[in-house]
């Protein structure tokens, strides 16, 4: 008779861990944040993602948007865009969701130590940068000048409004905010996020972390290059449809990369060529 001991059984990477929804906050008309309670904690690196499974509906990859120093809370900020995210939007505190992960390569916070750091986020792309900025705030002495440019479609579509206000009160952070369109009740900046880049404090060898729609990241990288950022110091977070999250199925293949395991964060110099190829 063949027996298998517990020690020989590897955990199935496709199995989800059930987690209870602790809190849900509506950020905008179509975007919400949920806090999950991971049993035993959920350590992660800023920039990583999880696969969230709504039982009986399906699974989606979502970037973690919470505080990496608080592994007892797993936070995701989600935009309602399809069947699964629609179902996630309907979750209430006490409901349960399946979680796999964390997966992927996060932001280069170790490589950025003792350097100036520039974060550039657009729309829902601000969510994956939030853990990076939170980490930097928690370890402020490890970094030099820190600035962030944030762009949204309109004032109504701004995420993390209260938190951005708090970030702007830090004397050692330069947080610039703009919207693409506004009426005259908005007193802030109007224009695309790339127009903020010349205003940011950053010297030689600064590290940039960029997240947003592909077009926005391309133009942001160009604006950073105009400011003499080294191409290898510009990092972007890639987005593709994912299925397995562990580099097996090939759903998220992007040229020679599997975004789930080789990304989502990559140096722009590695993917710049791919951004220009329609067939990829």
């Amino acid at each position: 008779m063949c027996t298998v001991t517990t020690a020989e059984v590897l955990p199935d990477p496709m199995l989800t861990t059930p987690m209870v929804v602790m809190a849900r906050r509506q950020e905008t008309a179509d975007t919400f944040t949920i806090d999950l309670a991971p049993p035993g904690g959920f350590p992660f690196e800023p920039g990583q993602f999880t696969m969230l499974y709504v039982y009986g509906v399906g699974e989606v990859p979502i970037s973690i948007s919470g505080d990496p120093a608080r592994p007892e809370v797993l936070t995701h900020t989600i935009r309602r865009a399809g069947k699964v995210t629609q179902a996630l939007a309907g979750l209430k505190p006490g409901d349960s969701v399946g979680v796999r992960g964390p997966y992927g390569r996060g932001w280069p916070l170790e490589a950025a130590r003792d350097k100036d750091v520039v974060l550039v986020g657009g729309g829902i792309g601000v969510a994956p940068l939030r853990p990076a900025l939170t980490h930097i705030i928690n370890h402020r002495a490890d970094y030099r000048l820190v600035s962030m440019a944030i762009g949204f479609r309109s004032p109504k579509e701004m995420l993390f409004v209260d938190e951005i206000r708090q970030w702007r009160q830090h004397f050692d952070l330069d947080i610039e905010l703009t919207v693409d369109a506004a009426d005259d009740t908005w007193r802030g900046s109007v224009g695309v996020v790339t127009r903020l880049i010349p205003m940011l404090d950053a010297g030689e060898q600064a590290v940039a972390m960029v997240c947003g729609p592909g077009v926005m990241m391309t133009f942001t990288a160009r604006a950073l290059r105009d400011r003499d950022f080294q191409p290898e110091n510009i990092y972007v977070s890639l987005e593709r449809n994912m299925k397995c999250g562990i580099g097996l199925c090939g759903h998220c293949q992007y040229g020679p990369l599997f975004v789930c395991t080789d990304g989502p964060v990559r140096q722009f110099s590695e993917v710049e060529r791919l951004f220009g190829i329609r067939e990829v």
């Binding site: 179509d30 935009r79 865009a81 399809g82 657009g122 729309g123 829902i124 762009g151 949204f152 479609r153 579509e157 703009t178 693409d180 369109a181 506004a182 009426d183 005259d184 908005w186 007193r187 802030g188 900046s189 109007v190 224009g191 695309v192 790339t194 127009r195 010349p198 205003m199 947003g212 729609p213 077009v215 926005m216 133009f219």
Partner: protein, 153 residues
């Protein structure tokens, strides 16, 4: 910036200009400050000024009737407000309203037009620099038109 005549214009638009050209431009420039709510220019008016902003925020906007005020862009430190003085019919196409008190070097557009006609080298330098401003503004507007944060799924 103190209000009044200037001997040298400190603004990225004019960086690297020769002393001779700088002196000529300073001759048709002055420093000024504009308070919140003040209009630097109104749509349809004669465009005979250019504003090299050193502080504050200026809104480029239009009255959209029932839609209310449509704010298309804001300009701030190191930006240039106004290139309608270059091209006929020299009319403003937007309202320029101060959102946060603006400090700027104001250039007299009529005097600049006369200068660039008399001194083609200076005219070339100015057109090159203003073309870059127009190009940047065009690219930003194209990006706005793309509505990159919209739900296009």
């Amino acid at each position: 910036m103190p209000t009044g005549d200037v001997t040298r214009v400190e603004h990225p638009l004019l960086a690297g200009l020769s002393d001779e050209h700088m002196t000529k431009i300073a001759g048709c420039a002055w420093g000024d400050r504009f308070e919140e709510g003040e209009y630097l220019f109104r749509v349809g008016e004669v465009a005979n000024r250019c504003f090299l902003i050193s502080a504050g925020r200026l809104s480029l906007e239009l009255d959209g009737g029932e839609r209310g005020i449509i704010r298309i862009a804001t300009l701030q430190e190191e930006d240039v407000a106004g290139f309608s003085w270059i091209f006929p019919p020299h009319r403003w196409n937007w309202d320029g309203r101060v959102v946060e008190p603006v400090e700027a070097t104001v250039l007299d557009g009529e005097a600049l037009r006369a200068l660039k006609t008399k001194d083609h080298d200076l005219g070339y330098e100015l057109l090159l620099r203003f073309s870059a401003v127009i190009s940047d503004r065009l690219e930003a507007t194209r990006l706005q038109l793309m509505d990159v944060y919209g739900d296009h799924g």
